[in-house]
Symmetry: C2
Subunit: 129 residues, 2 copies
């Protein structure tokens, strides 16, 4: 697979993909004789991993650290587990904050829907709701 295919598959730019490789968020990608990147299934998995974690807000640095440990072999199993556990914990917090914001917005939106109907915006809880 070429870099263009991978970009389309994951909805990111070629620059981003090269950037991830440069900073180690994905391992070095194999090149053709002409120096062109060739992504195989394993490479795609690494891209998938990076993209998924980035979308959730995990830092490029943390992802790169995981890749680095991975490349060091079995001695780093425990270190990788710790890293993943820490990131998981962060995502748990993030999930809670996101949920809180969603609740805030949903409540405001319900008020605004009523306000657009009635012309009056009120923040008081009403009877029967």
């Amino acid at each position: 697979m070429t870099i263009k295919d991978v970009c389309e598959k994951f909805g990111i730019t070629a620059d981003t993909l090269r950037y991830y490789e440069k900073v180690g968020a994905i391992p070095k990608v194999a090149r053709s004789s002409g120096g062109i990147r060739e992504y195989d299934d394993e490479a795609l998995n690494w891209v998938q991993n990076a993209v998924c974690l980035r979308k959730a807000g995990v830092s490029v640095e943390a992802i790169a650290e995981y890749v680095r440990l991975f490349n060091m072999g079995d001695e780093t199993l425990k270190a990788r587990l710790d890293l993943l556990s820490n990131e998981r914990e962060e995502l748990g917090k993030q999930l809670a904050e996101l949920t809180e914001a969603v609740e805030l917005l949903d409540w405001k939106i319900s008020r605004y829907r009523k306000a657009v109907e009635t012309g009056v915006l009120t923040w008081d809880k009403e009877e029967g709701e």
Copy 2:
């Protein structure tokens, strides 16, 4: 309430709070005769709003736009509803991506726990799991 109190209450810095005010993510805060910020309950609500939304990843610009519309009065009810609905939709997407990443991490973590026990890291689904 002084700026310091508000910082402690919400776990942010005074610089951040002044920054939010400067860019309009919260309305102008009243000052004492000496020019010191005095946060009343309404001001606190605005801070709460900004902090909550920021933690969920809503941009300072979007928050400021909401404040701007709010200050323009009832003509902007519909515009505010639209803005909030858009942000709500974004948060919904973010929630889905976050959930996906959490699932990825949880699965990896389960593999790594096993690997740390057995010394062997495997990505295959096992029988009876």
